[in-house]
Every structure is written in C-alpha cells, then in structure tokens.
Amino acid sequence: MPPSALSCRSRPLATLSLRNLVKSYGKVEVLHGINLDVADGEFVVFVGPSGCGKSTTLRMIAGLEEISGGEIHIGERLVNNLEPKERDIAMVFQNYAIYPHMSVRKNIGFGLRTSKLSKEAKDKRIDEVAAILGMTDLLERRPNQLSGGQRQRVAIGRAMVRDPAVFLFDEPLSNLDAQLRTQMRLEIKKLHQRVGNTIIFVTHDQVEAMTMADRIVIMKDGYIQQVGTPLDVYHKPANTFVAQFIGAPSMNMLPGNWAGKGVKLGDGLGIDLPERSAPEGADVILGVRPDDLVVTGGKGLFSGTVNIVEPLGADTLVYVGVNGHEVIAKASGREPPKAGDTVKLTAKAGEMHLFDAKSGEALP
C-alpha cells in the first residue's frame, strides 16, 4: 500500500484526560467521578457490564451528552463547552449510522464537507481512506448494497477521513457475527498501528478488550474498577469484580478464613499461601482461574467429584464439586476424567488470588 498522509500526522498531541467526571440524569447520578489519562496514540478499551456507564462516558467525551461535573481535556484544551465538531474527535456507532441515501463515497466524504480542502484534495483523501479499508471498488455503492461488515467499514472510513485527534468507538462490532467480529477486531487493531490515532473503544466483550487494548478500563455502576494493561488486569485483578469479569470462564471463588500462613476453606481444608498475608481469622476469598486449576494425578490441593465434563478439543473443562462449591478446572483434552470420577486439583501458589471478602479488594 502507498504511504499515506494519514500515517504521518503533524498536529498537537492527542492526549485525553478526564478529571472527576460526573454525570447525573435528574437526581440520579450514573457516573461518580471518573479519572483517566490517555496517552497520545494509545488504544484504550472501556469494558463493563450493561448499564455501567461506558457509553455515557464516551458520549460525554464526544460532546453529545452534557457534563454534570468535572473536566475533559483533549490535547491541551478544556473541551467541556465545545461543540462536538470543535473537539477534534470522530465517533463510530454501534448501528453504523451511515446515511442510506448517500453513496459510500458521499458517506465517507461527509465529514469533510466543512473542511477547506479543495475538491481534488477531498477526493484524494476519500480514495486514500477507501484504499486503507479495502473499499475502493465499493465507493459508488449505496449502503443497502453492502454487507454488515462493509457498512461498519464505511462508518470507520467516515471517522478516519477527518483524521481526528481521538477516535471514539461505541460497541462497533456487536452487530456483526462472530467470525466477522474477529476479523474486524484485527483490522481495527492494524488500522490503529498504521494511523496511530488515540482510540477509545467501548465494548462489553472482555475478549475484545483483552485482544485490542493497550490499556483496559474496567467499569461497574459508574465507577472505574481498574485501569491497566490486559496482562495487568488478568494477572493482578484489583478486586473480585475485575477478577470474575476478565477471563472466560470466570475465576473460581472460594470463601474461607485466613489462618496462620494460608486460607482455611470450610471442612478444615487448608491451602498454604506463603507469600501472602491477611489479618488472622479474616474472611477472605480465594480466587483461582480455571486455566490455572488443573486436574492432576499426583498430590492435589483439594479433591472433588466431577459433575460435568466439557471437551473443548485441546483441553477439557471439568466442573468439580468441592466443599459444596462448584469450581471449574482444566484437564487434558486426550484423557479427560468422566462425570462421577473423583479428581485431585492443583494450582501454583503464585496463580492464586486473595481478596477481602467484605470489600472485594485484592489482598497483597
């Protein structure tokens, strides 16, 4: 592909910072003070369950939603009181929102209408964007002659054409089928590496978050739970919510008490955690991911009865009843245990997580 003007930007830093951002609808506060700094060119993914305030945050950044409190800076500028078009952002919507009465070329060029470029320069720009997105042949089509993935690409093209400081994506892939979603995920990531704009991407799919993000922002009920790289939030979850939200299947959670050098689960089962500490007798939760909890022939940490076996090919997931709790563990794909078997489970101490049972916060 030809080197494009899009990839060598010459403009002020495209950083984004949210300071104590608050949003209320009437008396109901739905965002309770969001603080976040996004570096120039960073790919940040907001993830969280439905209704946690991801879209609201994004729409406030875009200028589509009044700001009830706090500040938003894009680059050096405070943008609280700027119109969306003055904020140097572009947004891609879940429903694509490409105009059905315009050709693909018109749709992509729409964002340039107000720019001062000459007609030729605009056309050149549209062609460039279409080339990057592999849509050169489709420029004269109408949206109703495009597939879902192509429509989403048009929407992305319309955002790209203005080369904004910050790209905002609100669940752009959730209307695509699984295969296309994986493909578009990759394309957006490639696109980001190529054009290098700052991207804020909202999704409730943790796989999307893990695979695309430089940093993940995990939200719940209008609060940020944790901000970190995908590996950070996976390996060092800040609390039980993050621990269970990130990773599939969810992390196993076993309640117990801290006793001496480890956790005492019900029935006197003790698990030593030499490098951890908590107040004696405190209610804690022991977390261990299914991937880290393996069925072993040797000496296990605990044993239980297999309830359900789910072969996945390479591995097998086994649902094991332990102490009245059901945990998910991993077994070999070739010789999986059968339902009703008694199996021993083991995990490395370093792969176990400890949380305060009351607050849910991770314990050191």
């Binding site: 875009a62 200028g63 969306p84 947004m91 694509y96 729409f110």
Partner: protein, 293 residues
Amino acid sequence: MASQDIAVKPSTDALFSGSSRNSRRNMGQFIRWALLFGGGILMIMPIVFMVSTSLKFPFEVYNLNLIPEEPTIENYTYVLEDGRFYRWFVNSLVISIVTTASAVFFDALVGYALCKFRFPGRYLVFIAILSTLMIPTEMLVIPWYLMSKSFGWLDTYWGIMFPGVMTAFGTFLMKQFFETVPDDFLEAARIDGLNEFQIWWQVAMPLVRPALAALAIFVFLGNWTAFIWPLIVTNSVEMYTLPVGLSSFGDEVDVAWELIMTGAAISTLPTLVVFLIFQRFIIRGVVMAGLKG
C-alpha cells in the same frame, strides 16, 4: 435457492393435500375476492356517475342510467371555453401547491422538534397541537372568518390558505415517523459538524421521505377538494377555487349538474398527477439500509 423452494412448495402441496382442503381454500379465496370486488364497486360508482353525467345533456341528468342515451362532449367544450374555469383552476393549483409545500415543511419541522428535542413544555405543546384535531372545520370556520375580516384577509389567497399552512395531523404523523429515525444518525451528523437545521434537512428528512410523500398527497388532496372555507372566505368570482366555482355553475333555480360533473371530472386530473409523482417515494425500508444489516 430460496426462491426455488418457494416455487416448489405449492405444487407438492397440491399433490398431497386432500381435495376438501383445496376447496375450502378456494372458498376463502372467493369470499376475499368478492369482498374486495364489492368494495371496489362502491368506491368507483360515484366516479362512474360523475363521468357519465358529464357526458349527458341537461334533460337526461336526472335519469340515473349509466350510459347516456345521447352521449355528448359539449359540456367539456363549454367548460373548457369558459374563462372562469381556468381562473379557478389556477387559483386551486396555486393554493394547493403553496399550502402543500408549507404544510409538509412546517409539519416535518415541528414534528421533528417535538420528537427529537427535550425541552420544557414539550408535552404540553404536543397535546395542544393534537387537541386541534378534535375540533371540526365547521366549528373553526367562524373564528377563522372573524380573524380574516379583522386582518383584511377576506377574498385573498392568503385568506384561503392560512388555516392550512400547517396541519396538526401532519405534525403528528411526522413526529411518529421521526421516532423511527435512530438518534445515532443525528449524532453522527452532529459530530460531522452539521448544525441542527442541517441535521434535520440533510439527514433526518431524506430518511422519512416516504412519510413526506404520503403527507404531501394527503395535504394536496385536502386543499384541492376543500370547499367550505374557500366558499366562505371568497366573495369575488375571480378568487373562487375550483370546487367553489364549479358549484356556482347554473343559476339560482337550476343547478347545472352536467357542467359541475364535467368540471369535477377535469379537476381529478391534477390529483392523479400528484399521486403518480409522489407514490414513487413511498417505498419502505429506506431507513433500515444505513443501520445494522
């Protein structure tokens, strides 16, 4: 492939299904056709009578035979040679076109505002507009007349047009249609730098084109055939609209039905034209094409 499946199905049905089921289906089909046919006849009879009467001599008008005994086109030559007819035709045309354009524009504008903007009193405004739908024209005619009189609008185009430059029905219709336009479109346009008026005109309006076409047909027909108000507000023969003018054919004693029917027959032509122009736009599914597939 799918179309082949569909094509194959009825024939296998016919092969394997019993004859009783077939005849019951035919019966239902027959009743449906009969009802539609009856309805069609009902609708078309007045028009047939209109055309038939326009082809009769005065002496035959009160015979209700469908085929005139002595068909004539004399009525048509008379009406078309009468200068007044052209004047009324032009009056009606001007008034109908201006009111249609105005009503479609303002109904869509107000409907859009009521649908897409949150402002205090929005609901009240909407109810107020709707409530005017409940008052029949016959009752409004008196206040309209008093208004026109004190403003000096009697016997003017504006006097005939002003009650129709915006319609409550159209506002309601357009509000409902704008509900089907997803906010995403408007927000995308807002981010692309359009102002609110441009968003309405360039993005929202093209998406409700079918509704606009339907409304245009309604409003045009309504104004083209309006009778009571134009009759009251106009005094001079030159200001008559077509329906008012036609009804004045004949003298105090004799109503010249054959001429009225002739004028009426001619005056249906523009409504046909309007319908043919606008019904092209009434295609569904325009909005959906820009959204998820």
